[in-house]
Assembly symmetry: C2
Homo-oligomer: 219 residues x 2
């Protein structure tokens, strides 16, 4: 794979793209950033050029030579299969399931509810104001983080990171969701284990370089 062009299509502040940047960095892979502006011209993800790459009109999407891979979780599993070292998942099936469950607790149960298109629907079709949208966003993060904290805290498999002392798939999902929670000014002291893991991850260059503000399309 390394010989081919690797390009990530996304938007600097998108959680799902942020995840993939972390995974690419953890793998030590170099890639080009191809910005897709979610707000310009009604959303560049709906434009003809991007739809030809990803008919789902969502970000991210990864080009690996002629291959186009969509869906952040599928992209990370693809990276894991094509570039096995360093691994994003542990070796045994039980541990792999735990890490995937932690990742999916973010990717399926928190993030989809706080998406831009969902907030746009709440405002446009249900007349939700700013305070109601904020309460909505916070509610799903709080519910999800309460669950994640319970899954992490007191489980002997939890280490410096979500699973042991090696950062991986679950951390790549958790850190962007904490970034999002901080944006909505949620006090993280309610979830000490999540906050601790978030801080540990952000000491690593792979996570630092993936931060939204460091991306070429950040304002």
């Amino acid at each position: 794979m390394a010989a081919e062009l690797l390009a990530l299509y996304g938007y600097w502040r998108s959680s799902a793209v942020y995840r993939v940047r972390i995974a690419l960095n953890l793998k030590g892979l170099h890639y080009e950033t191809r910005p897709v502006h979610l707000l310009r011209d009604g959303g560049e993800q709906h434009g003809e050029a991007y739809r030809a790459l990803n008919p789902q009109q969502l970000i991210p999407c990864l080009r690996d030579g002629e291959r186009v891979i969509t869906q952040s979780m599928a992209i990370m599993e693809y990276l894991e299969e094509t570039v096995p070292e360093p691994p994003l998942l542990p070796a045994d099936a039980r541990s792999r399931a735990r890490v995937r469950a932690l990742a999916l607790a973010v990717a399926c149960d928190i993030h989809p509810l706080g998406n831009l298109r969902v907030l746009q629907y709440l405002e446009g079709r249900l007349g939700a104001g700013e305070a109601q949208k904020l309460a909505w966003s916070r509610h799903w993060i709080e519910t999800g983080f309460d669950a994640l904290e319970a899954m992490l805290e007191g489980n002997s498999a939890t280490g410096r990171y979500c699973h042991g002392d090696t950062p991986g798939l679950a951390d790549a999902c958790l850190v962007p969701q904490v970034y999002n929670a901080l944006r909505w000014q949620l006090p993280m002291d309610r979830w000490p284990t999540i906050a601790r893991i978030h801080a540990a991850c952000n000491e690593l260059e792979a996570f630092q370089e993936a931060m939204p503000e460091r991306q070429p399309d950040a304002p």
Copy 2:
């Protein structure tokens, strides 16, 4: 794994549990059904007994002997790794990524928005009436199925099922979502490829036996 007790905790009508039933049936695995009633007593998933198994308080969860696996997508990947035959994923990385992306287009982008807890919030906190909740549910299925239809239709990898002529992970996610769409009386003729694959899947015993109405806790 086959020697151990395999038990699936869930609710007959839950899409996420329905997926796992299909996967277990496709693998030819026998399992016990452990009903968790989502509506009784404020939701049995929030009760002490179930929380001890799954602190996330969501279904499904699979017991494999002493192991407890949560999150439907993680459970299916776990089954794939522990019982490789027959496979739910194709062999090559590019095709595996396609199947996972199709599955995740349901699991991340449609299903989380139509969940019971989300509809409860819309009603209880945003004052949405029946018509508004129905419009919401339909909107996210329509948006998601438009995307899925575009991903499936005209892609040479699509066969009798979502990927080729063997049913797998993407079909296990798609069929429960179509079941849900039919419950909301969405006319499926807008998505001919999805409708065709749905019909093909439901000719198979693995899918028939997974149907909600056939479960022991169905009314």
